[in-house]
Symmetry: D2
Subunit: 353 residues, 4 copies
């Protein structure tokens, strides 16, 4: 951060996502993207053409040793997040890492702890949390319109690209875990179950069903699938007062809120419950047009400037990775639910305290 | 069956479904519905008005002792299926029972065995199997268009009526189990898992997720829910050659077949799998307009006449109840998968052999 | 009407619509359907089976001479409406006639006048007006939510049954004219244009576009088509304050109201208009489940009893026929707009005054 | 065109569309975009940042006098097309003009004639014609799958931006006229009718209905509207063999073809036509992912190189303007149909011959 408060950003990794980071950080007021780094010369050339203002390099050390750089954004495969993140932190940089934060909760915890010990900011890139739809969904829940939450049900399927390093859970469930963590303000599930199938002999699940059980009978279920003939991106978030649908495929009506609920009465003289429905109107709020990634970049920059708090800190990223890890374990056990020890954070975190 | 081959039918239970049975059996050529029985006088009056040709009674014995009656159709709550079915069989009548066949696999097995021992026909009412959409789906699979089956995924949700005697699994999953049994020609899953929640203190799950694992990595997943703000009735049945969607809410395009598939190649020099997609055309076959229940009634009548084979015999109903029972057990165990001993049918069946 | 106030109804014509009239009039409290009449013996037999309480005849005189009959409902082809209606009125019966009221405004006007001269009630069957969706649409407009009306746009298309006696305008546009007349409380258009095509050499248009121009720049446009591969039943009713969509194909969200509007400002120093949009929330009101035809039958019966006013009197039917007639004339003129003399009702009406 | 066959392009006008032209012409092999021109310095600065390879100017003469420039692309308001186009042609440049070609058929005709007299290529930018969906639609029609064409029906509505220099017809109907001209290979309608309304006192229609009548009872109807609460982009193109829907809002199923048709038989002994429907399967062909504007730019460049023929020459643009002009005249006449003299092209064209 120079005396004028400008933030200088470097982006590592120019695959699918990296160029979006360059563009959106560059769009934030008082922010400069000065450097990009990738091992592939072609990508660097293309970046130079699109973003004439950056200097390019294949050598990470050029970036780490540049004392002007304040923040390093990492957009590389998951397996490299830990090492690149640690090197950046050791070089005294704030770090922003693409989701999921790291390949295991141990590694994620070490990143979190090390950043804290160095008084540096660590962010995880949970872009969905900054979309107009998810922000509206959180608002509606937070102001009590849904009542007591009953369930979250997500379907996130399409004819997808098989990832070579992660299964469909790490690829797609991460989005839902980020959304849930945001809406529930960090509340963790008590148990995680995951079942699925790897149809093509490569031991990486191509479809999976993840169930999270929380206290108070709240249940979340996530269906992810790389083998579906149609693209579906639909979430139900239902409470006893009203029920919400978030359809990310809909251009004009992404969020619909149904004034439908359940009324429970205990008949005095009979020992049975009377459960009745109340069906009502529906409304679909207009959403603003803000770009999620630009809002996220703003939050990151303003946090570094000390003017706001992080929305997706490393702690958030760690919580998500813990659940992903538990889902993997359940998947290995054939779908048996795995308890998540909520009170005890992973060892590395304790060690870092 | 009189000398002319006419079949005489009696219907027990005139709630929601019974009047449909009267109407559809009456529509089959060479079939008469002569008697209906219910404990509720108002229902009997209404039936008499709608169907002037029936005689009504509150006394089951009137029906059982009528030697003209060939077939008794039972459309009463699940908890009464076993007793009513057994009484009808003991009276020497063929029996047609609303789904699910009985409240447990033991009772269902006894019905099946007893019918066989008496040389009487026992049918279960799996109406969905006779719909134009499900018959088309079976045809498409049977002629090999889908290739090797990868998964079946069903969503069957709406703001439903809470049943007082069964949970949402017995109410709604039954439909999918009937469809699966029909398409797979009786193939049973190796394990069943079921997770869900009972939000209103009555211990009856109001939403549930059921997972069936078959051999050859075929997986079926069924989401049923009485608490959803919208009605969804959608099934994906996907193979490696093409993929099918069955949307029962769609008036004109219930079945869509996507010529999309997966191509797997093993690169010679690298030890990794190349999984690629083939996206192609879609087509939606025109379905005939036949009424499912009328087709079903015809199959029942023609089976009794010895002119065809039953499509939904008691054996089918028993297989479905075995899976429902396993789902219930898994639900009690918090979602832990329960193995289904495929080779060994339930004891009562063996005993009956 | 007997001393107890019971209304006795006879139905003439048992094609597609007649049986619905029998059923719904029979469902109204204090109403009896005593007689049905059709030239086809098979239809009479079927009616007797469905409605054991009616007596059947092929002879209209049996009905006309029955002094117990208060109301005659006519559900026959359009070309017979005038004659049957006049005979029923001459016999001193109240008359309810399927839409459109008659084959020309002259004949419709004579029916209206004759009924008035005899102090008998004449009704036209505009069932759509009684649907929950149209009643809601009228309410929303009437309470000012839409603001000043800008346009009505209707698409009413499908692969239809070619009528042998009327073209697609008389078959389908009638519905929209009934809805418009109801919402606009009888306001008539100033001009009518109709263009279309008769593709199969029978001189009956199979698709048509009808444009109605009202004062205050309100315009209505109706697309009707028997040759469309999909069924669409969608109406836009838009005002400068908000805009409404009525999609009759939608099961759960037939009516949607968009809080979108237009803001017009006249910039002081420039001679041009600034037209800007306001995009806002949408809501979809819950509709009741009442059956339109039953509500309509109730209105008819209560009007005869003198307890309410008719909603679809003969005057309404006459207004609709005048517009249909003008549309036909425009169609003959190749689409040239035809003025409707709003102030001067057709001669027969004047004569009847 | 330099000795190596490279084509050098300049773009005039950097509003909404101009930058797309820069990007897409730059993407064509052997093509350079060397210059851009606009009166607005801010736009020029932004263009320089996005496209560092262009030189910018506010002075059109800089472009016209640059002997390296082969092609000038004009993306300015309609009212300036004629003057800018003529100046570019006079400077010896090939010209590509945004749709519609000019503000009147007289001006459009003069552009066409002058280009021909100078042996220069004149193109109109009808981008829609190059989309995968429209190309597929044309293919399906051209290979006879639809049979004899019955009608074209287009709905192109949304909450739009009010244009200050043209009405909704010139803004939106142009797209349909370009599509129709392409599918029908230049066949012109015999008459044009247009009705609509200008609700806000500025005399520019904000909604309109245009009807085109061709020989052989083919009819086209286009509904355009800036005042609709939802965005619809749907075209029906129906023949007597099969029927096609093109829904531009659909991500995955833009084109659907219904194997539905009409069968006409003349009953020998009765003088009436038997018109019957054949309802059949539907299929939705997979479309390629090519970008329309890039294909269009390629066609332009290859035409200049003499390697192919133009798809959207000035003649096409002139035909479309003639219809727009007739629509405007009909609108002024209150919707009265206006005949189009098909055999006699506008005077300027004759003069140019």
């Amino acid at each position: 951060m120079d005396p004028a408060g400008n933030i200088n950003v470097a982006v590592i990794g120019l695959g699918y996502w990296g160029p979006n980071l360059v563009r959106n950080f560059a769009a934030v007021a008082g922010t400069t993207v000065s450097r990009v780094c990738d091992l592939d010369q072609e990508r660097l050339k293309k970046a130079k053409r699109l973003f004439p203002f950056v200097s390019t390099t294949t050598n990470l050390e050029d970036v780490l040793s540049d004392s002007n750089v304040d923040l390093i954004a990492v957009a590389t495969p998951v397996s490299t997040h830990y090492e690149l993140g640690m090197r950046a932190l050791r070089a005294g940089k704030h770090v922003f890492i693409e989701k999921p934060l790291a390949g295991s909760s141990k590694l994620a915890g070490e990143l979190v702890d090390f950043a804290k010990s160095k008084n540096l900011h660590l962010f995880v890139d949970h872009t969905f949390v900054f979309t107009p739809a998810v922000r509206k969904m959180r608002d509606i829940y937070a102001r009590g319109d849904l009542g007591r939450l009953l369930y979250y049900d997500s379907v996130r399927i399409n004819l997808g690209i098989f990832q070579h390093d992660v299964n469909v859970v790490w690829d797609l469930v991460t989005h839902d875990l980020a959304i849930l963590d945001h809406i529930l303000a960090g509340r963790l599930p008590q148990s995680v179950a995951c079942t699925g199938a790897a149809h093509f002999g490569n031991h990486l699940a191509d479809l999976a069903y993840v169930t999270l059980k929380y206290d108070d009978d709240f249940i979340a279920h996530i269906h992810v699938n790389w083998l579906a003939p149609v693209k579906v991106r639909q979430v139900l978030l239902c409470g006893d007062k009203s029920m919400l649908i978030y359809d990310d495929n809909s251009a004009a009506e992404k969020i619909k809120v149904y004034d439908s609920g359940v009324q429970v009465a205990r008949a005095e003289d009979v020992y049975r419950l009377l459960v009745q429905y109340r069906a009502g109107d529906m409304y679909s709020p207009r959403l603003d047009n803000s770009e999620a990634l630009e809002l996220e970049a703003e939050n990151v920059v303003e946090t570094i400037r000390g003017k706001t708090k992080p929305i997706c800190s490393g702690d958030v990223g760690l919580r998500v990775v813990r659940i992903l890890e538990a889902a993997d374990e359940s998947l290995r056990l054939g779908g048996q639910p795995v308890r998540l020890d909520i009170s005890a954070p992973p060892k590395s975190v304790l060690a870092g305290a």
